[in-house]
């Protein structure tokens, strides 16, 4: 089994009575590019801040590079590169001054790599950070976080609000570093991570709905269309793996989240004897996430209604 660079167990963080991160358990394998996705407010940034020991967990724990994240400080950050969209930089410094300043903190700082990154990003060394555009600031932050060849790169919404050109530049540089590091990044934009992530986790309202390899995920989700011999209502007690079932006339549609071609076909014929034809369509990542999110919210609403009924 592959070693986990990041491991969390029941990791939770409450703000007041609200769970921002709700009993999250995930593993980020060493060498992977792990994308944590979720809508705005899903708890991605809080989760990352818990991992970086910027915030303290309310419950549970996490291990980052074999250290308890609550003990992560000082020298431990020589092996971690962290870039966040809303991180405050030393705005009074020029790019060159910032790189010079940070260099002294890292024993593994690679001056050649620094020069290469500055060239690649076309960073103006003499320009103050306060005078840089958002994209240039992000590039400067990347350069200062990659030049010491960290074992783990943690990026919180790194591409948010950037133009496609800058985004591609940053992704290219990340991919260059990928063979020698583990990358953990968060995003609310599925399209931007789909092309290069090896693993994906989906956070919704603080809960991790799934966390797995991208290829496995794509393989196990299918949009299923069943043509019926005659119009019939949805059968009762549908399996939990059938998400968002809809029927109209002689057609039944749903998303299957445990797809295996033969087994799934047998399962459908067993439950719907009037099925005449079945088609399985691969789904883009975006559709998979939408299906999961809607199913999850539907289940939550159903639970809430049941609880209210029981209370009444």
């Amino acid at each position: 089994m592959m070693k986990a660079t990041i491991h969390t167990e029941n990791l939770s963080r409450k703000f007041g009575q609200t769970f921002a991160v709700n009993h999250v358990g995930l593993d980020v394998p060493e060498g992977s590019i792990y994308a944590l996705v979720g809508a705005n407010g899903a708890g991605k940034t809080t989760l990352i801040k818990l991992l970086m020991n910027i915030l303290r967990p309310t419950a549970g724990h996490s291990v980052v590079l074999a250290s308890d994240s609550r003990c992560l400080k000082g020298k431990a950050f020589e092996r971690i590169g962290y870039v966040s969209e809303n991180q405050e930089l030393q705005e009074g410094m020029s790019v060159g001054e910032m790189l010079d300043y940070f260099r002294a903190f890292y024993s593994t700082w690679d001056r050649d790599l620094e020069a290469q990154l500055v060239r690649q990003f076309d960073l103006p060394r003499g320009r103050k950070l306060s005078q840089l555009s958002r994209g240039m600031k992000m590039k400067a932050a990347f350069a200062s976080s990659l030049a010491y060849r960290p074992a783990l790169i943690v990026l919180d919404e790194p591409f948010s609000g950037l133009d496609p050109l800058v985004r591609d530049e940053l992704i290219d540089v990340l991919l260059e570093r990928a063979p020698e590091t583990t990358i953990f990044l968060s995003s609310h934009d599925l399209a931007e991570i789909e092309s290069f992530s090896s693993h994906v986790g989906f956070l919704d309202s603080g809960k991790l709905l799934f966390s797995e390899e991208m290829s496995v995920l794509s393989e196990r989700f299918r949009e299923v269309t069943v043509t019926l011999a005659q119009p019939s209502p949805l059968p009762a007690n549908l399996p939990a793996s059938w998400l968002q079932p809809q029927s109209a006339d002689c057609m039944l549609r749903f998303v299957h989240n445990r797809y295996e071609e033969l087994a799934t076909a047998r399962e459908i014929y067993a439950l719907i004897p009037t099925a005449r034809d079945i088609s399985f369509d691969a789904m883009p990542l975006r559709s998979i996430f939408l299906a999961i999110a809607k199913a999850n919210r539907g289940a939550a609403q159903a639970n809430s209604a049941a609880a209210q009924e029981a209370h009444a």
């Binding site: 400080k73 000082g74 020298k75 431990a76 950050f77 966040s84 991180q87 009074g92 002294a104 903190f105």
Partner: protein
Amino acid sequence: MKQILHIFVKDTRRFWPEILGSLAILAALVFVYPRRFPEVLHIPVGQPYLNMWEYSNLLFVLAMVSWCLLIARLIHAEALVGDRQFWLTRPYGWRSLLAAKLLFLVAFLYLPLAVMQILILAASGLHPLAALPGLSYNLLLLTGVIVLPLVAIATVTSDFIRMALTLVAVLTGMVTYIVLTLHISLDEALSPAHLLPTKNQLSSALLLGCFSVAAILLQYAGRRTRMALVMLLCVPALLMAGIVLKPVMARAEQGRIDRAFPPLAAGEAAPLQIAIPANSHTMVSRWQPGSDMANVYIRLAISGIPENKGVFIDAPARVTFIAPDGFQWSGEVYEWSWGNKEFASAFKRSAIDLNMPVSAYTRLQAKPVTLRFTLPLTLLDAKETTRIPISAERFAIPGQGDCQATANGRSLIPEAIFSCRFAFQRPQVTHISAEWSDAPCPAEQIELDYRGGPDWMGSSESEPAELGIDPMKSSIIGLGTEYKEHLGKHLCSGHSFILTQYQPERRMQATFTVDNVQLAALR
């Protein structure tokens, strides 16, 4: 060490405008401050000069503001509150970070301050090297009372605006506290001194410093903002507890006084006598129209102090009023008028103020009452005496300060009033007198005019320095009013001032009874 210097250099580069501003203010002080004392600059009488008191006071305030700004900018460069700071995910060692900040404060706050104070002392005619213990002690007090609390507040705030608002809240709290303690002490005729945790500067500095250090360490070691805030809030909480627990504290304070000032043994004579002058009146008025509290003012004549001895009333004194029908009211002396609670062997007048409920006063005023004074006394023994011929020249109080006969800050004869300057602290307790003449001055001598004013300086419990940025303590010393106004004596040119240093010998608590005192009618 490398990281400490690295952070220090970064901060120095970044905050050079703030550093420059702070240094400029201190440099201006070095220039302006000695000009408060024109006699030091040998400006002749009659020649106009620019009064620099206001300017130097303004510069002291500006220096404090510049330090607040410097400390806020320094600490907030790596702010400890918030979750967006760049340094949180960089390999900073907290000890190195804290050490770098302290190094910065030493380099750009303490060192310039010490240099400024030494230069001011030198320019004012006082020997800086002799003042080194005072300088060190003063820096210690400033650290505990000003620098550490400011650093602590900076560590629990995220930016300068929040820190400024916190400081405004602290100042408002202090004013409220003072008003509250005064209100309570007026209502119950208690001195506010009861409500303070301590009157000792070093204890206050240590108390404040310890809570501040705890908050700073909590923040730097683990960014425990809530706990650090609780630590800082302990200080006002303690002060407020002092108010709530005032009766308990007052009892504790009375116990402390009783222990420090043991009662005289049976048959032992008190080192002074108290009388109410025959031609004198008591006076009384309401605090405010309609107030149910009255201010009672009683004149006293102090005598009977043995030769070569002095007596200080260092702790709160109590007076009990006993009516012929047995009704009693007891209260603490609120104030000794003109500060006259230090006495040498010569006869002297004084007066006390008390606050008393109007209802009690009305009952007591009906018939003559008996007054019983309970006074904690410090008996002092006269030591070294120095005679200094009266002249316009400056003279030194041996080993302590620098004085000159002046009036309104200008060299002046024939008025005999001292302006004295001391480094960091007022001197060992010293009594000022003069060679008085019973007869008017002969024709060849000038009769010197003189004003009233305290004829003692210094304290029987002095610390090596008084808290403040100002390295100089100045006092105007008079010769009392008794000799001229009440004893009809004369002071002539060619006579000498007599400076006598005293040392505490013993503490005691004495009770004096004065019968048949008719209190004045309430106005």
